[in-house]
Symmetry: D2
Subunit: 139 residues, 4 copies
């Protein structure tokens, strides 16, 4: 597998967990989102700066999903790797893998678009400029 | 499409939204989970009672996903429909559809198992008893 | 005690609770905020409309606090009452009381200001116009 | 002021912020709670281990409050200091101060008790053993 494009470490705490004493699963999506926003911050000054540069409303979600391989407990650290694994003219796909030590606990993805206002509606615009802004060369 | 097995209405508030002024997407998964738990409450006394009955640790997640069709704004109501749309011996699949008026805003699914402790590890046990407990007749 | 200015009912779910199987306490503040936003929605078209009318950035927090009287469990309903209990020229104070049946479970308050941008900084502006907008007559 | 008993750094992300583009205030309480749980982890093996040692249900909240001095934005880091600033026979009081660079952004407190089950009800038990477990000498 290729090297990740971005990695964050998440200290998992009591309040992230539910009455089953494991991470409440929507939090994994919060962490996916956090990882991508941190990546944008490092690469291009953050979501807001990118939106201004691209004249966009947001780098919003079209689709997200996850597979939960092993429960994650409080007072542990989750290492979350992100890979930009596909570009289309209207979307980018992010792949996530979360590990504890060498154990894969969660896998997931986000499909995002560059949402622009067009004729009073939101629509997915071209990703060409985003691709450049994030430092990905055109093939 | 079949009638939903469960429906909840979610009043969407300011704090559910992000700086783009739309629902922060992990919240949709919170609401999927809420819907299933409310369904368990109505059908079988809730998650805790079900776990005791099934000698299980939890009705946990194996997989979840969503497609975001239209942004959802604060001070609106999301009507969330849930259908139990597939059973296997080790999992049940829940399909979700969230509407505002007649507009489909979000679709999604959860794949859940009956997690039991077996030889010191968590594993997905049989769903047969859960199926009965939730009022679904065997075909 | 005076009649509440606003009341909401909150269905408490599994995901609102922590490994101690009671509501994770920051959620009570989410619900206080929800109550005030719902009140603004009913009285004055919502936070955004109010901000436009008042030329403000937000009706933000200066101070918040809560006393936790009794634990709140999943699959219950919390009835949350809100009273606008004090106005100053620069703030309004909201008092909250959360009940299950007749049992007081949580009490709290928020102190909010009308935040305006002034000389490039945020500052608390006059509450006079807000008071009128929310339907409170001057004494 | 005395040296803090515990310090954590919180990377603030997009999803922690609301439509006003500043931290949604209940999150500060999530971070207070995180800080105390991290402190318990470092000093005494975590909340669960402490509860077993003390035969308690949880180190729960009696009271919490905060004053918000300055808005906190996404893609910044909040340094949160915690001081155990008062013990009574039935409670401990934690004081929090959150900084960005040298600027105080948020102050707050939590009042916590050692909740034990007694005659089928929850009650605040003695803090003497907790005090020892967390490494605080009796005066």
């Amino acid at each position: 597998m290729s090297a990740p494009d971005h990695v964050i470490e998440i200290p998992v705490t009591f309040g992230d967990c539910d009455p089953a004493a494991i991470v409440f699963y929507p939090n994994f999506f919060r962490w996916f989102d956090r990882c991508f926003h941190d990546f944008m911050h490092v690469r291009a000054g953050g979501h807001r700066a990118l939106c201004e540069r691209l004249d966009a409303q947001g780098l919003g979600l079209m689709d997200a999903g996850a597979q939960f391989r092993a429960p994650v407990l409080e007072n542990t650290v989750l290492r979350l790797e992100m890979r930009v694994d596909a570009w289309t003219t209207r979307s980018l796909r992010l792949a996530y893998a979360g590990y504890q030590e060498d154990r894969l606990c969660v896998q997931g993805h986000e499909l995002r678009g560059v949402f622009v206002r067009r004729d009073g509606r939101m629509a997915a615009g071209s990703t060409a400029e985003l691709r450049t802004a994030l430092g990905f060369a055109e093939d």
